[in-house]
Symmetry: C2
Subunit: 166 residues, 2 copies
DNA sequence: GCCCATTAGTGGACTTATGCAACTATTATT
DNA sequence: AATAATAGTTGCATAAGTCCACTAATGGGC
């Protein structure tokens, strides 16, 4: 490494990250920025770009007609006010409608529109493709492992405990 | 699962995530929000909390005296303007100083202050601890694997190619 | 039926982050 | 000497996230 001429080319090659080098949160946070930017580019102009939550919301509403905002909010880790603003925006774009839930007059029931469904169908392949491309240096085995482990953590964090809990 | 009484308790238990369930970027983005919030709490009041980059910057400057802003910017995935604002903030807080580089009068050389070093020493254990606690349901083997795979991707993204590249 | 705690959603204000583009100063190229 | 490239700064516009208070509706206990 010391004899590699390329090592002196990029100053970063030699730069240690201190304790961050072994800190998972660091990589999650850093890769988040990178992957989110890349995703925004892949979705450019599709009024589901920018920010977190629109994609998940669209797909959840498509797949679960009548789903309630608070349920989505929990899954995308937003508070109710942020969720409300998101829905307001998406409703303005004509992607979904908000009706009063028949079960509970406080709650809303969300339904996708034709335009929303079209968009959902359109972005599904883009999303999966983008993730695979971005993490292209990861093998299939590693990928499966990451999904399994991170998915487990996600479910725990979001309150969908796979383990014991009252 | 269908017979589990708990399944009906939390409405989310039954909710599928569509294609996101197998999409790595989704988990990275979601966990980022969760782990960042948790980290902010762990660092509350330590004027290195909130936002990305301050921690990395502090540790890099501590470990690499005279390092240049543009190098850090590349590693924390910020553009120069964002980096400048970050440094301005940290300088105001008395964590580091900015001097003109002796090599290149355009560039700056960053040095940590006594206060900065104290803070660095103080947060190092907090950061590693927080990450481990947050991902407490991950085994040591899984953790090593994640660090290895995500670290590789991080290095590629950041321009520190571990593979062939001109 | 009546109180009280809880939950769902809304709205406002505040702080931050992000992105882009223009600008100066310095260095490298040729 | 002229031109291009790089380092950093500044301003601005857009958007996100955070907090807190507020209304409306539900549910439980009495």
């Amino acid at each position: 490494m010391a004899s590699d001429p390329k090592a002196t080319r990029n100053p970063m090659t030699e730069i240690g990250l201190d304790v961050l080098e072994d800190t998972l949160s660091f990589y999650i946070r850093s890769l988040n920025m990178a992957v989110s930017r890349d995703l925004d580019q892949s979705l450019e102009g599709l009024d589901v770009a920018r920010g977190t939550g629109k994609i998940t919301t669209l797909l959840l509403v498509d797949r679960h007609p009548g789903i309630r905002p608070s349920v989505i909010a929990q899954m995308i880790l937003k508070d109710r006010s942020a969720m409300g603003r998101l829905l307001e925006q998406m409703e303005e774009h004509g992607l979904l409608t908000r009706e009063v839930s028949s079960d509970d007059n406080r709650a809303q029931a969300l339904y996708i529109t034709g335009k929303g469904r079209e968009l959902a169908d359109r972005i599904r392949p883009i999303i999966t493709r983008q993730s695979r491309d971005f993490f292209s240096d990861i093998t299939d085995e590693e990928h499966a492992m990451l999904i399994r482990v991170l998915g487990r953590t996600y479910r725990r964090v979001v309150g969908l405990e796979p383990n014991d809990e009252a």
